[in-house]
Symmetry: C2
Subunit: 244 residues, 2 copies
């Protein structure tokens, strides 16, 4: 008997940002698989087994989920935000490609509110014009490629959302990114630091690139860099619909 | 008495992708304001006035919403998808900037599932690595800027989501965009056409850039162009987490 696998996004943190589609998948699941703080967001109940694992074991976790589904489980892999944005969906498809024995497992991806859009909503509408999303983690790509993309995005006047800006293991990358952006966009460009958005620890702060410091971000922060027209109106920050 | 204004995203179409936060705001609203097909998604009920308007009158609509809120209404401006992505949030802040008499109106933006993420979820995970979102409508920006951003995004090997690819009024732009992408990315690059995603009219099709034709898109389509590593596994399309 083959079960099914759903890869679901829990949104940025607030329970009222979990879609009904995801809530229903969780209510019907036999197994929930994910990084432990996300699995902890799914309450225990009879008939549900929670499989929590540490960070950086995404492929092992994906293979476990495929295996449980192949054995008949109704399995939900949980990600924060949206599973297709720097999260578990790609890892599951990588695991599937490496393990053709799971080809018959039905897989659905259930979208969620990704961090940059929750952060943008709290700030106003800084991503209201063309924008890019860049993962600053260099675990899986060379730093030179990150710099190339940052420069291309800034030179073409995209607004930019930066995921995973800074970790204890590599504090210097984000400082270099800020330097590159300051050089390309000038010191007056607005930048929003959104930490732990929609959770009790939420902190949203908008400054200029000239005022921005690497210490303003950690791994729970998403950073939104405006385009050349991004401006303030009262407490809000937004990018106009017209190009500047 | 001052009311309040919420700018809410209804998601791409399916009711089970409307967040509880947005559902609650709609349940408490005295006025719903928006483009008529989106307003039509909010059922009539006693105590609710629905203000539907045509496309391309975003600033008038935003001003009406601010005015209703300033007079004490609990007003919800509705957008499809996410209100901060090529939708009403920027228009409301533009209207606010032009009308300081509304500065005291409390404004909240309530995020939603934007079309590109719903489309990516249906296809697999084609936006699983760094990506850009570009609005191909040249109503509010010169076509030369669109081409510059397309080229910058393609040359830096971003995946790309194209919103508003094609309208009857300007069918030639999307053909030019496809030509530019084919030239920059080569004919083998995967591209997903996602029409009316999560509605009964949904149609998802992935082809190569060599096979892509302008007629495959209309204004209800979002187009997802893969990066150089985007590939198929079974029926799914995904971008690996590692750079190619």
């Amino acid at each position: 008997m083959t079960g099914a696998l759903a890869i679901a996004g829990l949104g940025p943190g607030a329970e009222d940002l979990v879609t009904p589609e995801v809530a229903e998948a969780l209510a019907e699941a036999t197994d929930v698989v994910g990084y432990f703080p996300y699995v902890a967001r799914v309450p225990e109940r009879p008939g549900l087994t929670r499989h929590a694992s540490d960070n950086r074991v995404e492929l092992d976790r994906a293979r476990l989920a495929l295996d449980l589904a192949a054995k008949g489980g109704r399995v939900v892999v949980v990600s924060s935000g949206d599973p297709g944005v720097f999260a578990m969906a790609s890892a599951v498809f990588e695991a599937l490609e490496a393990a053709p024995e799971f080809a018959a497992v039905p897989i659905r991806v259930l979208p969620g509110i990704t961090a940059m859009l929750a952060a943008a909503a709290r700030a106003g509408a800084p991503l209201g014009h063309d924008f890019c999303a860049i993962n600053l983690s260099d675990n899986l790509k060379p730093w030179a490629l990150i710099e190339r993309r940052l420069r291309a995005a800034a030179e073409a006047d995209f607004a930019i959302a930066l995921y995973n800006p800074r970790s204890a293991a590599r504090p210097e990358g984000f400082a270099r990114a800020l330097g590159l952006l300051r050089e390309t966009c000038g010191p007056e460009r607005l930048v929003t630091f959104a930490r732990a958005v929609t959770t009790p620890e939420e902190r949203i702060e908008t400054v200029t690139l000239g005022e921005a410091a690497p210490e303003m971000a950690d791994m729970r922060t998403v950073v939104l860099v405006g385009n050349s027209a991004t401006r303030r109106v009262g407490p809000h920050v937004y990018s106009p619909r017209r190009a500047s």
